[in-house]
């Protein structure tokens, strides 16, 4: 993205960020205010990184699978990730590294199941991958519910984990953790941006990509692996948050953003902005906090219906 478009996006994003952190601050006493700002900034960082990653990974998946209706939620990856995370928290008492490893492993597993399902469905590839992703998602959500009931977890925990929330951070609040999380996300994201030319050429045509010197298979799986890793990290922190990854890239495409690099960088800003708004609504619309996934799905459904109508004949 260049020039005007980028400027507009950046302005919107910064205004939203300021509003998010500053909201009703003047109601508090001075010493309380600093504490609140600190808490809000922690949450803010988590919110925008999740938004960025979920959206850019959605954009990348849509390019890789040539299907505008995909994101980590629809493909079943976040379902698998959540299951892995909760499994490790039950059996390994929430050891961080083991949790992240489990989450990654089951994300990967769910992606593989979804892909092998879809290759066995004799239908349009666009439709078959949606169906198999849905099935995998149902499978792992059910497993999460069973596991939570067996481990006698609080039912609200389950509720927030399945619909995603920034209020119930599942991993213990630890400064070092936040930093390492942030650094990992940035490194993987830079990697994805460097891969945007491969993504572009794969999105044009795989045969053309091969004869132009791109190793399509290797790039496909390598990029997918990175995306899965990112998603599993996010899921470990905030649970399953869906649909931002579908909405923002499609809006960008409609606005004429077509090259992968622009789409991904636009997704950062757009995804972060949308999820900030959603989190704001989930925080303040009622006297208690509603899961962010609920807000996002309510807003997304009409839009997703519209995308389906335009893309599937």
């Amino acid at each position: 993205m260049k020039g005007k478009k980028l400027l507009i996006f950046l302005t919107i994003f910064f205004l939203l960020s300021f509003f998010y952190i500053d909201f009703k601050l003047s109601n508090f006493e001075k010493d309380v205010r600093n504490e609140i700002i600190k808490m809000r900034i922690f949450r803010y960082i988590l919110v925008i990184t999740s938004g960025m990653v979920l959206t850019s990974s959605g954009a990348v998946m849509q390019i890789l699978f040539k299907n505008p209706l995909l994101d980590s939620y629809v493909l079943g990856i976040s379902g698998g990730g959540l299951f892995g995370f909760i499994l490790s928290s039950v059996y390994f008492k929430g050891n961080l590294l083991i949790s992240i490893f489990f989450s990654f492993f089951f994300s990967l597993l769910s992606a593989l199941i979804s892909l092998s399902f879809s290759s066995n469905i004799k239908s349009d590839r666009k439709v078959s991958i949606l169906i198999s992703g849905l099935l995998v998602n149902i499978l792992f959500s059910s497993l999460v519910i069973i596991l939570s009931i067996f481990s006698k977890r609080d039912i609200t925990f389950l509720f927030y984990a399945l619909m995603g929330s920034f209020n119930h951070i599942f991993i213990s609040k630890n400064f070092f953790l936040y930093i390492s999380f942030f650094v990992t996300i940035i490194l993987t994201t830079v990697f994805i941006i460097f891969k945007s030319k491969e993504l572009d050429i794969i999105s044009i045509d795989e045969d053309i990509a091969s004869t132009s010197g791109v190793n399509v298979k290797k790039n496909f799986f390598f990029i997918l692996l990175i995306i899965i890793y990112q998603t599993s990290l996010i899921v470990s922190f905030v649970g399953m948050v869906g649909f931002v990854g579908i909405i923002i890239p499609n809006i960008l495409r409609m606005a004429g953003v077509v090259k992968s690099k622009d789409l991904i960088s636009g997704s950062f800003l757009g995804g972060a902005s949308l999820i900030l708004v959603a989190d704001f609504i989930s925080k303040y619309s009622f006297s208690f906090e509603i899961p962010i996934g609920v807000v996002l799905s309510l807003f997304s459904l009409p839009f997703i219906f519209w995308i389906v109508k335009n893309n599937f004949e």
Binding site: I63, K66, N67, P68, F194, S196, K197, D200, I201, S203, I204, D205, D207, I208, A209, S210, T211, S212, G213, V214, N215, R253, V258, K259, K261
Partner: protein
């Protein structure tokens, strides 16, 4: 320059789909592959482009064994235009052409100044400068084919492979494509598969006939015009007018 020996390929095990014992192309020029639907034309072109794996026998391109050619090297040897390109997302025409030299791009996807100049030169030569700022979705079939041609010339492969470049293309663009191909034949091997016998016979130096995955005849048009019955299993009528030859179904 292209040398094929005992090539065997099958999609399902035990059943040879394509079997070519010996084929060699020694000089630049236009080579057409004709045959019925399912005779193996596309498979043959895909094998040459290293898009299908698991063949038996030997394919040598420019003196190198195809199996040993590395990914980035193939871009300088083969330029491939598929039969049909189905774009799922829109893409800018200029970048579409630019990605022809993917193998020469730096980490950030930039090309040298000289490369960019080459694009402009090509756009001018192919008379598609006016498409430069458009997106692929807005192009007609003929315009898209010209853009594809520009992309593959920009890529610079010594062997240009075109799978049915004339199907569903209007007359004006077809003429343009033929003109460009004829200009290229001095410096490249141009391999075309087509159902349009008229174009094949009038522009090709050599015509290859395929039937059920086997080669049935190779030669210039005077030789091949008498082999048509063998290739297509039906009488194909033609009129000769000096150097040109016109085909018709005769019904």
């Amino acid at each position: 320059m292209v040398n094929i020996e005992n090539l065997k390929f099958s999609y399902t095990k035990g059943k040879d789909f394509l079997k070519i014992e010996d084929l060699s192309i020694k000089e630049n020029g236009i080579y057409s592959i004709i045959g019925e639907n399912g005779s193996g034309k596309t498979t043959f072109l895909k094998l040459l482009s290293k898009l299908l794996e698991g063949y038996e026998g030997k394919i040598d391109l420019l003196g190198k064994d195809l199996k040993r050619i590395k990914e980035k090297e193939i871009a300088n040897i083969i330029s491939y235009i598929p039969q049909k390109i189905y774009l799922h997302y829109d893409f800018p025409v200029y970048d579409f052409i630019k990605y022809g030299r993917y193998s020469k791009m730096d980490l950030f996807g930039n090309l040298t100044f000289k490369d960019l100049k080459d694009i402009n030169f090509l756009l001018e030569k192919l008379e598609i400068e006016h498409l430069k700022k458009r997106n692929c979705f807005s192009l007609s079939g003929g315009e898209m084919q010209l853009v594809q041609l520009a992309r593959s010339i920009f890529q610079g492969g010594k062997i240009l492979i075109m799978d049915e470049p004339f199907s569903n293309i209007d007359f004006r663009h077809r003429k343009k494509i033929i003109e460009i191909i004829q200009e290229l034949k001095g410096e490249k091997i141009v391999l075309i598969s087509s159902h349009d016998l008229g174009i094949c016979f009038n522009i090709s130096d050599t015509i290859v006939g395929l039937k059920n995955g086997k080669m049935v005849g190779i030669g210039n048009k005077d030789l091949m015009k008498n082999e048509l019955k063998k290739i297509f299993d039906t009488e194909i009528k033609f009129i000769e007018d000096g150097r040109r030859i016109y085909f018709y179904e005769g019904v």
